[in-house]
Amino acid sequence: MSLNTEDQELLEGFLTETTELLEKVGDDLLALEKTPDDVELLNRIFRSVHTVKGAASFLEFELLVKVTHKAEDVLNKLRKGEISVNIQIMDVILEAVDLVRLLVDDIKKENIVERPIEGTITRLEAVLIAQDKEPVANEAPPETPSVPSAKESESPPPAVLPQSVVAAQNNDPRETPSAAPQTSVNIETTDKSTIRIDVKRVDDLMNQVGELVLERNRMSHLNSDCLGRINIDVFADEFGKLVKRISFITSELQMQVLKMRLVPVGNVFRKFPRIVRNLARDLGKQADLKIYGEDTELDRSVVDEIGDPLIHLVRNALDHAIESADERLAVGKPRVGCVTLSASHEGNNIIISIKDDGRGLDPEKIASKALEKGIVTTEQLDAMGPKDIFDLIFLPGFSTKEKVSDLSGRGVGMDVVRTNVRKLNGIIEVKSEMGQGSEIILKLPLTLAIIQSLMVEIEDETYSIPLSAVIETLRVKEEDFSSVGGREVLRLRQSALPLMRLQQRFGISQQENNREFLYIVVVGIAEKRLGLVVTRLLGQQEVAIKTLGNYLANVPGIAGSTILGDGKVALIVDPAKLIDVGEEELFRQAS
């Protein structure tokens, strides 16, 4: 099949619309399974599939038309009440939707291949035939005209349809159905290059731009006033006001645009009902998925990264944690297992939790497995607490499941989770109770683009310290410093706080020798604390992080940069790295 459409724009429009529709259809189908009698829902699914078919036939994507057409037939029968929703029918329809997605993906990649679609079509037809004895060949053509109510006005004329239908039917029986794609594979529908934004946000943005235009007009007005020799005091006054308003609008505008990068986590969560449904069926288990907090917003870049880890975690929950129905009943749990996926905000972090009510992690089993696989030694194990043992599951090459299934157990899953979460500067926490279930909590930064920071001055240079790591700030006299083992420390509430002079660390030339006071920013990562000695505190500011590029990516102690109000660049310090460096030095001194 060749892509003989000259109009690229038309094609792009089709792809965007279709991708959106398919996503909706997927959701709706799952909802339909729960409420099979919802006619409105069924109609909506039908309309969506119909629109896809219409557009596909208009653009002459024959394979797509064949599949959507058959799916439409089945949906139409459902809609008319000639057949009723059951699990087999849903499976076939979902399979068809997957296939359609696959085909659309091919088109998107501009790599149209002849995919075996006959298997799916045969199965769709089987549904048509099985549920009523009418022969398929006669029924399809009259059907197409009988969809007027549902047909949306913008859907292209289905004039091309009859031919392709005939073609489809002629081909079917002779082709081998065995090669059909048993696609329970979840196809990535997230398009990385585009972003969907709430219209309201665009409207807000438009409003603000309007304001800005207004201010610009005022500015040129003021300029002509100035040329007309306005009183200088009046001018200064007016100009001052103007500057204030413009700076206000600009910062609003800036926030607005930054907010546009935020997307609801629901975009990621959306595919999970489907995954859980299919997995549970494949594993012969019964499980419900509960989703909370899908409106929680976080940065797009974070959203893109958490998809894979979540899939692994949910798979693990179903495969390893949730017991079979009999087993569950035997231990007095409800038949149907429950996996809860939730998201919420906590300060500048987002908390994503995957909780199950399955068998929970068995520390002993994990320990013996880790030993067996040679991941840890007996001595190491002896020193470990139960929490440390749970953390072993994140090590590469670890899997406790005896039987490696298709879904999980290859020993890569949790490692992937850890790698991705670490990439996002996130934290993983495992909670588990034997027999009660376990919970895996991912704590991720809300965004990678904006952070709250404490602006400090070190001699004449300005630096930014991420506020998330700042515990407190102190104003001290230099003579209060004491020295322990060659390292400067500050006695602070019964403990010795190690100090690091950023002026020396960053090689900044000293401007003044005897300052009366110095400021200490106490930063902490996990249980470690470090006092960073700075010259002045400038205050708290929300800053947008800019990378220093590949060439300067590894500067120790520097995490990135940001642009200040005056257009100058300020560097963002990396407290975690500084703490590491400090420890290392101490270690070196000691040895």
Binding site: R505, K546, L548, G549, N550, L552, V555, G557, I563, V569
Partner: protein
């Protein structure tokens, strides 16, 4: 196609355009196609713990880009920046990078055949590998640089090693 026409095309294709600039007394040239823009000296923020020839970073319309002093890179004595000092912003492997030079002169067109291999003596301070050739052009001696070579993957590795 007529022979004469193809000949003239060939001659055209052999020409390249160079941006010529000065560092100290030496005049250099770089391929104009690799130059994104040339800007005046701006506020440079020093980045600690980096090799000495990295002057720091600047804000180029919202993008933070590293600035390298060619003087320092070529081990020439330091000089005060004046109003002729320029930053040549170049696109290297899809990453912008600025190079501080004493002054930028002009864009010149030369035939590729004018480029001669660099004599080994010229390479006093300049790293041999980023020397692409020498051009005698209108009584002048131009040293053609390939700055991308300076940051070839290998070089870049040592670059980060150096930082660490």
């Amino acid at each position: 196609m007529a022979t004469s026409a193809s000949n003239s095309i060939e001659i055209k294709e052999e020409r390249i355009q160079l941006v010529s600039f000065k560092i100290g007394n030496e005049e250099h040239g770089i391929d104009v196609l690799k130059v994104r823009e040339i800007i005046r000296m701006s506020n440079i923020t020093r980045v600690p713990n980096t090799p000495h020839y990295i002057e720091g970073v600047i804000n180029l319309r919202g993008k933070v880009i590293p600035i390298i002093s060619l003087r320092m890179k070529f081990s020439l004595p330091e000089a005060e920046n004046d109003n002729r000092t320029r930053i040549i912003v170049m696109d290297m492997d899809n990453e912008l990078m600025g190079f501080v030079v004493d002054s930028v002169a002009e864009v010149i067109r030369i035939a590729i055949s004018e480029i001669q291999p660099p004599p080994p003596i010229v390479t006093g301070g300049i790293d041999q590998e980023c020397l692409a050739g020498v051009i005698h052009h209108a009584e002048r001696l131009l040293v053609l640089l390939d700055l991308e070579k300076m940051f070839s993957p290998d070089e870049r590795k040592t670059f980060t090693d150096m930082i660490q």
